[in-house]
Amino acid sequence: MVKKEAVRTDSTEDNSVDNVQARSNFIAATKDELAKVVWPSRQQLISESVAVILMVILVSTVIYFVDQIFGWITKQPFLFG
Protein backbone atom coordinates (compact mmCIF):
# COMPACT_ATOMS: atom_id res chain seq x y z
CA MET A 1 0.00 0.00 0.00
CA VAL A 2 1.48 3.30 -1.07
CA LYS A 3 1.53 5.84 1.68
CA LYS A 4 0.38 9.20 0.40
CA GLU A 5 2.46 12.13 1.47
CA ALA A 6 0.39 14.73 3.18
CA VAL A 7 0.46 18.03 1.37
CA ARG A 8 1.34 20.75 3.85
CA THR A 9 -0.21 24.13 3.34
CA ASP A 10 0.83 27.26 5.08
CA SER A 11 -1.76 27.84 7.76
CA THR A 12 -1.48 31.64 7.66
CA GLU A 13 -2.17 31.67 3.94
CA ASP A 14 -5.18 29.42 4.54
CA ASN A 15 -6.50 31.72 7.23
CA SER A 16 -6.22 34.81 5.08
CA VAL A 17 -8.10 33.07 2.26
CA ASP A 18 -10.75 31.98 4.78
CA ASN A 19 -11.02 35.52 6.13
CA VAL A 20 -11.53 37.00 2.67
CA GLN A 21 -14.11 34.33 1.89
CA ALA A 22 -15.88 34.85 5.21
CA ARG A 23 -15.94 38.60 4.62
CA SER A 24 -17.35 38.27 1.12
CA ASN A 25 -19.86 35.71 2.41
CA PHE A 26 -20.93 38.11 5.16
CA ILE A 27 -21.39 40.97 2.68
CA ALA A 28 -23.36 38.72 0.31
CA ALA A 29 -25.50 37.45 3.20
CA THR A 30 -26.07 41.03 4.39
CA LYS A 31 -27.23 42.00 0.89
CA ASP A 32 -29.65 39.05 0.92
CA GLU A 33 -30.88 40.11 4.35
CA LEU A 34 -31.49 43.64 3.12
CA ALA A 35 -33.60 42.25 0.29
CA LYS A 36 -35.77 40.42 2.84
CA VAL A 37 -36.48 43.53 4.91
CA VAL A 38 -40.08 44.75 4.67
CA TRP A 39 -40.09 48.52 4.18
CA PRO A 40 -43.02 50.83 4.98
CA SER A 41 -45.37 51.77 2.15
CA ARG A 42 -45.32 55.28 0.68
CA GLN A 43 -48.63 56.10 2.38
CA GLN A 44 -47.30 54.91 5.75
CA LEU A 45 -44.05 56.82 5.24
CA ILE A 46 -45.82 60.09 4.40
CA SER A 47 -48.36 59.60 7.19
CA GLU A 48 -45.72 59.00 9.86
CA SER A 49 -43.41 61.77 8.65
CA VAL A 50 -46.37 64.19 8.78
CA ALA A 51 -47.22 62.89 12.28
CA VAL A 52 -43.64 63.55 13.44
CA ILE A 53 -43.50 67.06 11.97
CA LEU A 54 -46.99 67.94 13.26
CA MET A 55 -46.17 66.69 16.74
CA VAL A 56 -42.90 68.63 16.86
CA ILE A 57 -44.59 71.84 15.67
CA LEU A 58 -47.54 71.48 18.08
CA VAL A 59 -45.43 70.63 21.14
CA SER A 60 -42.79 73.29 20.43
CA THR A 61 -45.49 75.96 20.00
CA VAL A 62 -47.23 75.02 23.26
CA ILE A 63 -43.96 74.78 25.19
CA TYR A 64 -42.74 78.10 23.74
CA PHE A 65 -45.82 79.95 25.04
CA VAL A 66 -45.69 78.12 28.39
CA ASP A 67 -42.02 79.09 28.75
CA GLN A 68 -42.78 82.70 27.86
CA ILE A 69 -45.50 82.87 30.54
CA PHE A 70 -43.36 81.24 33.25
CA GLY A 71 -40.35 83.33 32.23
CA TRP A 72 -42.43 86.50 32.61
CA ILE A 73 -43.78 85.38 36.01
CA THR A 74 -40.28 84.70 37.40
CA LYS A 75 -39.18 88.20 36.38
CA GLN A 76 -41.92 89.87 38.42
CA PRO A 77 -40.28 91.68 41.38
CA PHE A 78 -43.22 91.15 43.76
CA LEU A 79 -42.76 87.36 43.48
CA PHE A 80 -38.99 86.93 43.46
CA GLY A 81 -37.73 90.19 44.96
Binding site: T30, L34, V38, W39, S49, V56, S60, V66, F70, G71
Partner: protein, 442 residues
Protein backbone atom coordinates in the same frame (compact mmCIF):
# COMPACT_ATOMS: atom_id res chain seq x y z
CA UNK B 1 -65.58 61.54 8.87
CA UNK B 2 -65.28 58.22 7.07
CA UNK B 3 -62.49 55.99 8.31
CA UNK B 4 -61.53 52.89 6.40
CA UNK B 5 -61.85 49.90 8.72
CA UNK B 6 -59.40 47.69 6.88
CA UNK B 7 -56.21 49.60 7.64
CA UNK B 8 -54.63 51.68 10.39
CA UNK B 9 -55.75 55.32 10.45
CA UNK B 10 -53.43 57.91 8.96
CA UNK B 11 -51.79 60.67 11.02
CA UNK B 12 -54.47 63.16 9.99
CA UNK B 13 -57.28 60.77 10.95
CA UNK B 14 -55.58 60.10 14.28
CA UNK B 15 -55.27 63.80 15.12
CA UNK B 16 -58.92 64.39 14.17
CA UNK B 17 -60.11 61.41 16.21
CA UNK B 18 -58.13 62.55 19.23
CA UNK B 19 -60.66 65.34 19.66
CA UNK B 20 -63.60 62.92 19.42
CA UNK B 21 -62.57 60.02 21.69
CA UNK B 22 -63.50 60.98 25.25
CA UNK B 23 -61.10 58.60 27.04
CA UNK B 24 -58.27 59.64 24.77
CA UNK B 25 -59.04 63.31 25.32
CA UNK B 26 -58.74 62.81 29.09
CA UNK B 27 -55.42 60.99 28.76
CA UNK B 28 -54.16 63.67 26.39
CA UNK B 29 -55.07 66.48 28.80
CA UNK B 30 -53.36 64.66 31.69
CA UNK B 31 -50.21 64.26 29.56
CA UNK B 32 -50.16 67.92 28.48
CA UNK B 33 -50.84 69.09 32.05
CA UNK B 34 -48.00 67.00 33.49
CA UNK B 35 -45.58 68.10 30.77
CA UNK B 36 -46.41 71.75 31.50
CA UNK B 37 -45.89 71.06 35.22
CA UNK B 38 -42.38 69.79 34.43
CA UNK B 39 -41.63 73.04 32.59
CA UNK B 40 -42.61 75.02 35.73
CA UNK B 41 -39.76 73.45 37.73
CA UNK B 42 -37.19 74.72 35.26
CA UNK B 43 -38.15 78.29 36.20
CA UNK B 44 -38.13 77.72 39.97
CA UNK B 45 -34.56 78.76 40.83
CA UNK B 46 -32.09 77.04 43.12
CA UNK B 47 -31.27 79.74 45.73
CA UNK B 48 -27.97 81.59 46.26
CA UNK B 49 -26.62 81.42 42.68
CA UNK B 50 -25.68 84.11 40.16
CA UNK B 51 -27.78 82.56 37.40
CA UNK B 52 -26.98 85.09 34.66
CA UNK B 53 -23.22 84.57 34.96
CA UNK B 54 -23.66 80.79 34.99
CA UNK B 55 -25.96 80.84 31.95
CA UNK B 56 -23.39 82.93 30.07
CA UNK B 57 -20.59 80.49 30.94
CA UNK B 58 -22.68 77.49 29.82
CA UNK B 59 -23.13 78.91 26.31
CA UNK B 60 -19.38 78.60 25.71
CA UNK B 61 -19.17 74.96 26.88
CA UNK B 62 -20.13 72.36 24.24
CA UNK B 63 -20.27 69.48 26.75
CA UNK B 64 -22.72 71.17 29.09
CA UNK B 65 -24.56 72.61 26.09
CA UNK B 66 -25.21 69.05 24.90
CA UNK B 67 -26.58 68.07 28.33
CA UNK B 68 -28.56 71.31 28.51
CA UNK B 69 -30.60 70.24 25.47
CA UNK B 70 -31.67 67.03 27.24
CA UNK B 71 -32.73 68.96 30.34
CA UNK B 72 -34.72 71.44 28.24
CA UNK B 73 -32.60 74.37 29.35
CA UNK B 74 -32.99 73.41 33.02
CA UNK B 75 -29.23 73.32 33.47
CA UNK B 76 -28.64 76.85 32.16
CA UNK B 77 -31.45 78.36 34.25
CA UNK B 78 -30.31 76.38 37.35
CA UNK B 79 -33.88 75.47 38.17
CA UNK B 80 -34.80 72.76 40.67
CA UNK B 81 -35.29 70.45 37.67
CA UNK B 82 -31.73 71.11 36.51
CA UNK B 83 -31.04 67.39 36.04
CA UNK B 84 -34.54 66.56 34.84
CA UNK B 85 -35.10 62.95 33.79
CA UNK B 86 -31.39 62.25 33.07
CA UNK B 87 -30.60 60.41 36.36
CA UNK B 88 -33.59 58.10 35.83
CA UNK B 89 -32.51 57.31 32.28
CA UNK B 90 -28.93 56.68 33.44
CA UNK B 91 -30.30 54.42 36.17
CA UNK B 92 -32.41 52.51 33.62
CA UNK B 93 -29.33 51.97 31.44
CA UNK B 94 -27.29 50.82 34.46
CA UNK B 95 -30.12 48.47 35.43
CA UNK B 96 -30.26 47.02 31.91
CA UNK B 97 -26.53 46.33 32.00
CA UNK B 98 -26.75 44.81 35.49
CA UNK B 99 -29.65 42.59 34.42
CA UNK B 100 -27.52 41.23 31.59
CA UNK B 101 -24.54 40.71 33.92
CA UNK B 102 -26.16 39.39 37.13
CA UNK B 103 -28.06 36.08 36.78
CA UNK B 104 -30.27 36.76 39.82
CA UNK B 105 -31.59 39.97 38.26
CA UNK B 106 -32.02 38.26 34.89
CA UNK B 107 -34.07 35.55 36.59
CA UNK B 108 -36.14 38.22 38.34
CA UNK B 109 -36.93 39.91 35.03
CA UNK B 110 -37.65 36.78 32.99
CA UNK B 111 -39.25 34.33 35.36
CA UNK B 112 -40.95 36.40 38.06
CA UNK B 113 -43.49 38.05 35.77
CA UNK B 114 -45.09 41.36 36.73
CA UNK B 115 -43.86 41.20 40.36
CA UNK B 116 -40.27 40.78 39.17
CA UNK B 117 -40.55 43.69 36.76
CA UNK B 118 -41.99 45.84 39.52
CA UNK B 119 -39.04 44.93 41.75
CA UNK B 120 -36.60 45.86 38.99
CA UNK B 121 -38.40 49.20 38.54
CA UNK B 122 -38.00 49.78 42.27
CA UNK B 123 -34.27 49.04 42.06
CA UNK B 124 -34.05 51.48 39.14
CA UNK B 125 -35.61 54.16 41.32
CA UNK B 126 -33.09 53.55 44.11
CA UNK B 127 -30.21 53.72 41.62
CA UNK B 128 -31.73 56.92 40.17
CA UNK B 129 -31.84 58.43 43.67
CA UNK B 130 -28.19 57.56 44.35
CA UNK B 131 -27.13 58.72 40.90
CA UNK B 132 -29.06 61.94 41.46
CA UNK B 133 -27.11 62.71 44.63
CA UNK B 134 -23.80 61.97 42.84
CA UNK B 135 -24.72 64.16 39.85
CA UNK B 136 -26.10 66.85 42.14
CA UNK B 137 -22.82 66.93 44.08
CA UNK B 138 -20.86 67.01 40.83
CA UNK B 139 -22.97 69.88 39.54
CA UNK B 140 -22.77 71.84 42.80
CA UNK B 141 -19.07 71.35 43.55
CA UNK B 142 -17.80 71.19 39.98
CA UNK B 143 -19.90 73.73 38.10
CA UNK B 144 -21.83 76.00 40.45
CA UNK B 145 -19.00 76.74 42.90
CA UNK B 146 -17.71 79.93 41.18
CA UNK B 147 -21.26 81.30 40.83
CA UNK B 148 -22.40 80.69 44.43
CA UNK B 149 -23.06 83.76 46.57
CA UNK B 150 -22.22 81.99 49.86
CA UNK B 151 -20.33 78.80 49.05
CA UNK B 152 -20.09 76.38 51.96
CA UNK B 153 -21.46 73.10 53.38
CA UNK B 154 -24.95 74.60 53.78
CA UNK B 155 -24.99 75.75 50.15
CA UNK B 156 -23.88 72.28 48.96
CA UNK B 157 -26.52 70.57 51.11
CA UNK B 158 -29.44 72.78 50.07
CA UNK B 159 -28.49 72.72 46.37
CA UNK B 160 -28.08 68.93 46.24
CA UNK B 161 -31.33 68.55 48.19
CA UNK B 162 -33.24 70.86 45.81
CA UNK B 163 -31.84 69.23 42.65
CA UNK B 164 -32.40 65.67 43.95
CA UNK B 165 -35.96 66.43 45.07
CA UNK B 166 -36.67 68.04 41.70
CA UNK B 167 -35.30 65.08 39.78
CA UNK B 168 -37.26 62.57 41.87
CA UNK B 169 -40.41 64.61 41.23
CA UNK B 170 -39.72 64.52 37.47
CA UNK B 171 -39.22 60.75 37.71
CA UNK B 172 -42.60 60.39 39.45
CA UNK B 173 -44.26 62.54 36.77
CA UNK B 174 -42.72 60.39 34.03
CA UNK B 175 -44.25 57.29 35.63
CA UNK B 176 -47.61 59.06 35.97
CA UNK B 177 -47.54 59.90 32.25
CA UNK B 178 -46.79 56.27 31.39
CA UNK B 179 -49.64 55.01 33.60
CA UNK B 180 -52.38 57.59 33.08
CA UNK B 181 -51.35 59.54 30.01
CA UNK B 182 -50.29 58.75 26.46
CA UNK B 183 -46.91 57.34 25.50
CA UNK B 184 -43.80 56.57 27.51
CA UNK B 185 -43.24 59.20 30.21
CA UNK B 186 -39.44 59.32 30.17
CA UNK B 187 -39.31 59.43 26.35
CA UNK B 188 -41.92 62.18 26.19
CA UNK B 189 -40.04 64.27 28.76
CA UNK B 190 -36.84 64.06 26.71
CA UNK B 191 -38.89 64.84 23.59
CA UNK B 192 -40.34 67.95 25.24
CA UNK B 193 -36.91 69.02 26.51
CA UNK B 194 -35.40 68.79 23.03
CA UNK B 195 -38.38 70.51 21.42
CA UNK B 196 -38.20 73.31 24.04
CA UNK B 197 -34.86 74.44 22.60
CA UNK B 198 -36.20 74.50 19.01
CA UNK B 199 -37.90 77.95 18.96
CA UNK B 200 -34.73 79.66 20.23
CA UNK B 201 -32.55 77.75 17.74
CA UNK B 202 -34.96 78.57 14.93
CA UNK B 203 -34.92 82.24 15.94
CA UNK B 204 -31.11 82.30 15.83
CA UNK B 205 -31.13 80.62 12.41
CA UNK B 206 -33.61 83.16 10.99
CA UNK B 207 -31.46 85.95 12.46
CA UNK B 208 -28.41 84.43 10.75
CA UNK B 209 -30.29 84.26 7.44
CA UNK B 210 -31.39 87.89 7.72
CA UNK B 211 -27.96 89.20 8.70
CA UNK B 212 -26.22 87.50 5.76
CA UNK B 213 -26.94 87.81 2.08
CA UNK B 214 -28.58 85.44 -0.38
CA UNK B 215 -25.85 82.88 0.30
CA UNK B 216 -26.80 82.48 3.97
CA UNK B 217 -30.50 82.13 3.07
CA UNK B 218 -29.59 79.36 0.60
CA UNK B 219 -27.48 77.68 3.29
CA UNK B 220 -30.36 77.76 5.81
CA UNK B 221 -32.86 76.43 3.24
CA UNK B 222 -30.41 73.64 2.33
CA UNK B 223 -29.97 72.74 6.01
CA UNK B 224 -33.75 72.63 6.52
CA UNK B 225 -34.14 70.38 3.47
CA UNK B 226 -31.46 68.03 4.80
CA UNK B 227 -33.26 67.85 8.16
CA UNK B 228 -36.54 67.12 6.38
CA UNK B 229 -34.97 64.36 4.26
CA UNK B 230 -33.34 62.97 7.40
CA UNK B 231 -36.69 62.83 9.20
CA UNK B 232 -38.24 60.87 6.31
CA UNK B 233 -35.14 58.65 6.12
CA UNK B 234 -35.21 57.91 9.84
CA UNK B 235 -38.93 57.06 9.67
CA UNK B 236 -38.20 54.77 6.70
CA UNK B 237 -35.43 52.84 8.45
CA UNK B 238 -37.09 52.80 11.90
CA UNK B 239 -40.14 51.13 10.35
CA UNK B 240 -38.15 48.62 8.31
CA UNK B 241 -38.52 45.11 9.75
CA UNK B 242 -37.19 41.69 8.89
CA UNK B 243 -40.07 39.26 9.33
CA UNK B 244 -38.89 35.76 10.15
CA UNK B 245 -41.70 33.31 9.39
CA UNK B 246 -42.71 31.02 12.25
CA UNK B 247 -44.86 27.92 11.88
CA UNK B 248 -46.86 26.79 14.89
CA UNK B 249 -47.32 23.03 15.01
CA UNK B 250 -50.68 21.33 14.51
CA UNK B 251 -52.25 20.72 17.92
CA UNK B 252 -55.17 18.69 19.20
CA UNK B 253 -56.96 19.95 22.29
CA UNK B 254 -59.72 17.50 23.23
CA UNK B 255 -61.68 16.83 20.05
CA UNK B 256 -60.64 20.12 18.47
CA UNK B 257 -57.82 20.06 15.93
CA UNK B 258 -55.93 23.32 15.53
CA UNK B 259 -54.20 23.48 12.15
CA UNK B 260 -50.69 24.89 11.86
CA UNK B 261 -50.53 28.67 11.80
CA UNK B 262 -47.92 30.92 10.22
CA UNK B 263 -46.89 34.03 12.08
CA UNK B 264 -43.86 36.32 12.05
CA UNK B 265 -41.05 37.23 14.38
CA UNK B 266 -40.38 40.89 13.54
CA UNK B 267 -36.78 42.04 13.95
CA UNK B 268 -36.12 45.73 13.57
CA UNK B 269 -33.27 46.93 11.43
CA UNK B 270 -32.20 49.28 14.19
CA UNK B 271 -32.62 47.29 17.41
CA UNK B 272 -30.94 49.72 19.80
CA UNK B 273 -32.83 52.76 18.54
CA UNK B 274 -31.04 55.92 19.59
CA UNK B 275 -29.02 54.30 22.39
CA UNK B 276 -25.85 53.56 20.37
CA UNK B 277 -25.62 57.22 19.35
CA UNK B 278 -26.20 58.42 22.93
CA UNK B 279 -23.50 56.08 24.25
CA UNK B 280 -21.06 57.02 21.47
CA UNK B 281 -21.68 60.75 22.10
CA UNK B 282 -21.11 60.25 25.83
CA UNK B 283 -17.78 58.50 25.17
CA UNK B 284 -16.65 61.25 22.79
CA UNK B 285 -17.65 63.97 25.25
CA UNK B 286 -15.37 62.41 27.89
CA UNK B 287 -12.00 63.65 26.48
CA UNK B 288 -13.19 67.27 26.26
CA UNK B 289 -14.55 67.20 29.81
CA UNK B 290 -11.25 65.65 31.02
CA UNK B 291 -9.36 68.33 29.09
CA UNK B 292 -11.49 71.00 30.77
CA UNK B 293 -10.67 69.49 34.15
CA UNK B 294 -6.97 69.12 33.25
CA UNK B 295 -6.48 72.75 32.19
CA UNK B 296 -7.58 73.95 35.60
CA UNK B 297 -5.50 71.36 37.45
CA UNK B 298 -1.73 71.87 37.72
CA UNK B 299 -1.09 68.58 39.55
CA UNK B 300 -1.71 66.45 36.45
CA UNK B 301 1.47 67.59 34.70
CA UNK B 302 1.98 65.89 31.32
CA UNK B 303 -1.38 64.12 31.43
CA UNK B 304 -3.19 67.43 31.13
CA UNK B 305 -1.42 68.13 27.84
CA UNK B 306 -2.32 64.64 26.52
CA UNK B 307 -6.00 65.18 27.37
CA UNK B 308 -5.99 68.54 25.59
CA UNK B 309 -4.37 67.00 22.47
CA UNK B 310 -6.91 64.15 22.39
CA UNK B 311 -9.71 66.67 22.87
CA UNK B 312 -8.44 68.77 19.95
CA UNK B 313 -8.17 65.69 17.71
CA UNK B 314 -11.72 64.68 18.61
CA UNK B 315 -13.26 68.06 17.83
CA UNK B 316 -16.56 67.66 15.90
CA UNK B 317 -15.92 68.06 12.19
CA UNK B 318 -12.45 66.50 12.10
CA UNK B 319 -12.00 63.22 10.22
CA UNK B 320 -10.64 61.55 13.39
CA UNK B 321 -13.86 62.46 15.21
CA UNK B 322 -15.99 61.08 12.37
CA UNK B 323 -14.08 57.78 12.22
CA UNK B 324 -14.02 57.27 16.01
CA UNK B 325 -17.70 58.23 16.24
CA UNK B 326 -18.65 55.68 13.55
CA UNK B 327 -16.57 52.93 15.19
CA UNK B 328 -18.20 53.68 18.56
CA UNK B 329 -21.67 53.57 16.98
CA UNK B 330 -20.88 50.16 15.46
CA UNK B 331 -19.61 48.85 18.79
CA UNK B 332 -22.60 50.08 20.79
CA UNK B 333 -25.06 48.92 18.10
CA UNK B 334 -23.85 45.34 18.49
CA UNK B 335 -23.61 45.71 22.27
CA UNK B 336 -27.17 47.00 22.57
CA UNK B 337 -28.63 44.51 20.07
CA UNK B 338 -27.18 41.68 22.16
CA UNK B 339 -28.94 43.10 25.23
CA UNK B 340 -32.32 43.55 23.55
CA UNK B 341 -32.69 40.30 21.58
CA UNK B 342 -31.22 37.10 22.98
CA UNK B 343 -31.31 34.40 20.25
CA UNK B 344 -30.92 31.65 22.87
CA UNK B 345 -34.05 32.82 24.73
CA UNK B 346 -36.05 33.25 21.52
CA UNK B 347 -35.02 29.75 20.40
CA UNK B 348 -36.04 28.24 23.77
CA UNK B 349 -39.38 30.05 23.74
CA UNK B 350 -40.14 28.87 20.20
CA UNK B 351 -39.34 25.30 21.21
CA UNK B 352 -41.58 25.60 24.29
CA UNK B 353 -44.49 26.80 22.15
CA UNK B 354 -43.96 24.05 19.60
CA UNK B 355 -43.10 26.57 16.91
CA UNK B 356 -40.24 26.59 14.44
CA UNK B 357 -38.70 28.54 11.58
CA UNK B 358 -39.31 26.76 8.24
CA UNK B 359 -36.24 24.81 7.14
CA UNK B 360 -34.41 25.35 10.45
CA UNK B 361 -34.20 22.70 13.16
CA UNK B 362 -35.44 23.80 16.60
CA UNK B 363 -32.86 24.39 19.34
CA UNK B 364 -29.22 25.17 18.60
CA UNK B 365 -29.71 25.56 14.82
CA UNK B 366 -32.50 28.10 15.35
CA UNK B 367 -30.30 30.00 17.78
CA UNK B 368 -27.43 30.11 15.26
CA UNK B 369 -29.77 31.18 12.47
CA UNK B 370 -31.26 34.01 14.56
CA UNK B 371 -27.78 35.09 15.64
CA UNK B 372 -26.68 35.32 12.01
CA UNK B 373 -29.76 37.30 10.99
CA UNK B 374 -29.35 39.62 13.96
CA UNK B 375 -25.65 40.21 13.21
CA UNK B 376 -26.40 41.18 9.63
CA UNK B 377 -29.35 43.40 10.57
CA UNK B 378 -27.29 45.13 13.27
CA UNK B 379 -24.54 45.74 10.71
CA UNK B 380 -27.05 47.42 8.38
CA UNK B 381 -28.55 49.39 11.26
CA UNK B 382 -25.09 50.55 12.38
CA UNK B 383 -24.26 51.76 8.85
CA UNK B 384 -27.50 53.75 8.85
CA UNK B 385 -26.86 55.20 12.32
CA UNK B 386 -23.29 56.20 11.40
CA UNK B 387 -24.59 57.94 8.29
CA UNK B 388 -27.34 59.75 10.19
CA UNK B 389 -24.95 60.76 12.98
CA UNK B 390 -22.23 62.16 10.74
CA UNK B 391 -24.37 63.77 8.01
CA UNK B 392 -25.31 66.91 10.02
CA UNK B 393 -21.60 67.51 10.76
CA UNK B 394 -20.75 67.58 7.04
CA UNK B 395 -23.81 69.67 6.16
CA UNK B 396 -22.97 72.21 8.87
CA UNK B 397 -19.43 72.43 7.52
CA UNK B 398 -20.67 72.85 3.96
CA UNK B 399 -23.34 75.46 4.75
CA UNK B 400 -21.58 77.24 7.62
CA UNK B 401 -24.83 77.31 9.63
CA UNK B 402 -23.88 76.24 13.15
CA UNK B 403 -27.01 77.28 15.05
CA UNK B 404 -28.31 73.69 14.99
CA UNK B 405 -25.04 72.34 16.40
CA UNK B 406 -26.59 70.86 19.55
CA UNK B 407 -29.60 69.49 17.71
CA UNK B 408 -27.78 66.76 15.83
CA UNK B 409 -28.64 63.22 14.88
CA UNK B 410 -29.27 62.13 18.47
CA UNK B 411 -32.01 64.69 18.93
CA UNK B 412 -33.55 63.95 15.53
CA UNK B 413 -33.62 60.21 16.18
CA UNK B 414 -35.23 60.76 19.58
CA UNK B 415 -37.80 63.18 18.13
CA UNK B 416 -38.76 60.77 15.34
CA UNK B 417 -38.75 57.68 17.57
CA UNK B 418 -40.88 59.21 20.32
CA UNK B 419 -43.29 60.87 17.89
CA UNK B 420 -43.85 57.58 16.01
CA UNK B 421 -44.32 55.59 19.23
CA UNK B 422 -46.78 58.13 20.64
CA UNK B 423 -48.70 58.36 17.36
CA UNK B 424 -48.89 54.55 17.28
CA UNK B 425 -50.22 54.42 20.84
CA UNK B 426 -52.89 56.96 19.89
CA UNK B 427 -53.72 54.93 16.76
CA UNK B 428 -54.02 51.75 18.84
CA UNK B 429 -56.37 53.56 21.21
CA UNK B 430 -58.43 54.92 18.30
CA UNK B 431 -58.66 51.45 16.68
CA UNK B 432 -59.65 49.76 19.97
CA UNK B 433 -62.36 52.40 20.51
CA UNK B 434 -63.56 51.89 16.94
CA UNK B 435 -63.93 48.14 17.53
CA UNK B 436 -65.64 48.76 20.87
CA UNK B 437 -68.11 50.93 18.96
CA UNK B 438 -68.68 48.14 16.44
CA UNK B 439 -69.37 45.63 19.24
CA UNK B 440 -71.75 47.99 21.04
CA UNK B 441 -73.78 48.61 17.88
CA UNK B 442 -77.08 46.64 17.99
Amino acid sequence: MVVSRDKAPSAQETFLQMAQAAGLRGRLLITIGLLILVRVGIFIPVPDIDRQAFSQAINDNSVIGFLNIFTGGGLSTVGIFALGILPYINASIIMQLLTAAIPALEDLQKNEGEAGRRKISQYSRYIAFGWCIIQGLGLTVGLLRPYANNYGPLFIFQTVLAITAGSMFVMWISELITERGIGNGASLLIFVNIVATLPQTLGQTIEYAQSGGRQSITAVVLLMLVFLVMIVGIVFVQEGTRRIPIISARRQVGKKLYRERTSYLPLRLNQGGVMPIIFASAVLILPSSLAGFATGNEGLGGFGEIFVQISNALRPGTWVYTVVYSVMIFFFSYFYASLIVNPEDVSKNLKKMGSSIPGIRPGKKTEQYLEGVLNRLTFLGAIFLSFVATLPIFVEQATGVTTFQGLGATSLLILVGVAIDTAKQIQTYVISQRYEGMIKQP
